[in-house]
Amino acid sequence: MISRSRKLFLWTVRCLMGLAVAVTGGITLFIVFYVLAQGLPNITWELLSTSPSYLSDRIGILPDILNTVYIIIATLVIVLPLGVGAAVYLTEYATNRRIVSVIEYAAEALSGIPSIIYGLVGMLMFSNNIGTSLMAGALTLVIMNLPTIMRNTQESLKTVPQSYREGAFGLGAGKWRVIRTVVLPNCVDGIVTGCILSVGRILGESAALLFTAGFAHMANGFFEGLGSAGATLTVALYIYAKEQGEFEVAFAIASILMILAMLINLSATLVTKKFQRRKK
């Protein structure tokens, strides 16, 4: 028999836990629905497909969409070889365990630094040299995302069975061939997961880019765009809401970002599941 006071205690605990769940879920749902309700009605084809113009008093976010795409591409193109290369070196080649663990620790610490600090450093290192531009922003994002790509790749490299490596070495394959044909293809999942996480982070980044990439809303081609200052969607959201009081546009952008973020989370989950199934 459980005593009455014990029963009361358990009941209270259950109620409190239920309340916590309700509050957490409720707040999340409220934000999602509030933003979507405010934003979705304001998403029009014109908004998505034009540039802002003072002459016709029109706001369009095409340049911001393009800037976002450009900066994601530029960042990934630079960070992937660096991050994967570093991971392969640390896991497969480096022999000094102490140096490896120092670098791993540094990467871990790097990913905890507030992004505004990356912005400050990026401004001094990149913007002051090549000018405030998407490229300067992308380089800053490269530093921010390098640990993510590196660590995800490393973790994945460690899960590749040693027996695959032995099998390949046993056939007379050299180290680089073993890595290229047997090891790397088996850690595509980690690399893809790292990329997806990075894209999510780039989409959501504002502080670091305010410092380095600027605020312009000009629709450019890829290379021209990288050389010019430009706002990504998130930065544009900040500018429209904070500087120009254009809340309809801000909420429209917010809805788009939120939907993208959900899609990214979903794809990260799907990728993980798909590869897990294959590894079994």
């Binding site: 022999t95 069975p161 027996s163 695959y164 490596r165 032995e166 099998g167 390949a168 070495f169 046993g170 056939l171 007379g172 394959a173 050299g174 061939r177 044909t181 047997v182 293809p185 088996n186 294959r278």
Partner: protein, 249 residues
């Protein structure tokens, strides 16, 4: 018979602990040599020394000499050595790629790109490994879909595809069912027409059934080495006798 592998005063240490002590052995060409002995006596270590798979382990120190075809294995190109001295592992370890790509992996590694030539090598190797009929209709399928016994024969085919002279097998049947085991034993017996086989086995019957020569290891030492029949029927060393009659180990 000519000996293809000769070890002299071979010692090996993992860090501080010595795993092989003054091994002297001559392995004859086109024959099956069985390595027997209780767990941890250094059979795998010795086998892995022959194609320098030990290079992959940190802290291994080796003294003495091992010659393959009259040349010191430690002063020749390791990838070339492993092409000539192939290995089949205890646990089947096909790559997670198609059956075809598994077998073609070695030849491609050594520079063969021609499709017709690869096709020919893949078929011949799979036939030699007695698995062609079972897989010929599914060469493009993932090798991990095969049964354990088939995977092991695929690994043998994969090793044969680089046309080695020697095949090292480390308890290749210990993870397999009796029927698959029998197939691999039959296969080994056929392969010795062309190849030299060194096989580690825990199974005395297996050593007796397939091997020409038997080497008995104990605590890192080669206690006795001779014709299989003699080792099993009239061993010279008391320890060998105790082991092969099942009195210990």
């Amino acid at each position: 018979m000519n000996s293809i592998i000769t070890a002299q005063d071979l010692c090996l240490w993992y860090g501080q602990s010595q795993a092989l002590k003054n091994i002297n052995i001559q392995i004859p060409e086109r024959s099956i040599t069985a390595l027997i002995g209780p767990s941890g006596c250094g059979k795998s270590t010795f086998l892995k020394t022959l194609n320098r798979m030990n290079d992959l382990i940190n802290g291994v120190r080796i003294t003495g000499t091992v010659e393959y075809n009259g040349t010191d294995i430690f002063s020749q190109d390791v990838n070339q050595l492993r092409k000539e001295v192939g290995m089949v592992f205890q646990k089947p370890n096909p790559f997670p790629m198609s059956i075809y790509d598994n077998v073609a992996y070695g030849p491609r590694t050594h520079g063969i790109r021609n499709k017709a030539q690869l096709d020919e090598i893949v078929e011949r190797s799979l036939r030699d490994a007695a698995i062609w009929d079972e897989v010929k209709d599914r060469l493009k399928k993932n090798a991990l879909g095969l049964s354990g016994g088939q995977q092991q024969r695929l690994c043998i085919a994969r090793a044969l595809a680089v046309q080695p002279k020697v095949l090292l097998m480390d308890e290749p049947t210990s993870a397999l069912d009796p029927i698959s085991t029998l197939k691999i034993e039959e296969l080994a017996t056929n392969l010795k027409e062309t190849y030299t086989i060194v096989i580690v086995t825990h199974n005395m019957q297996q050593a007796l059934r397939i091997s020409d020569r038997t080497a008995f290891f104990l605590l890192g030492e080669l206690v006795e080495y001779g014709d299989t029949e003699q080792i099993f029927s009239q061993p010279a060393d008391k320890r060998t006798e105790d082991y092969v009659t099942g009195r210990f180990g």
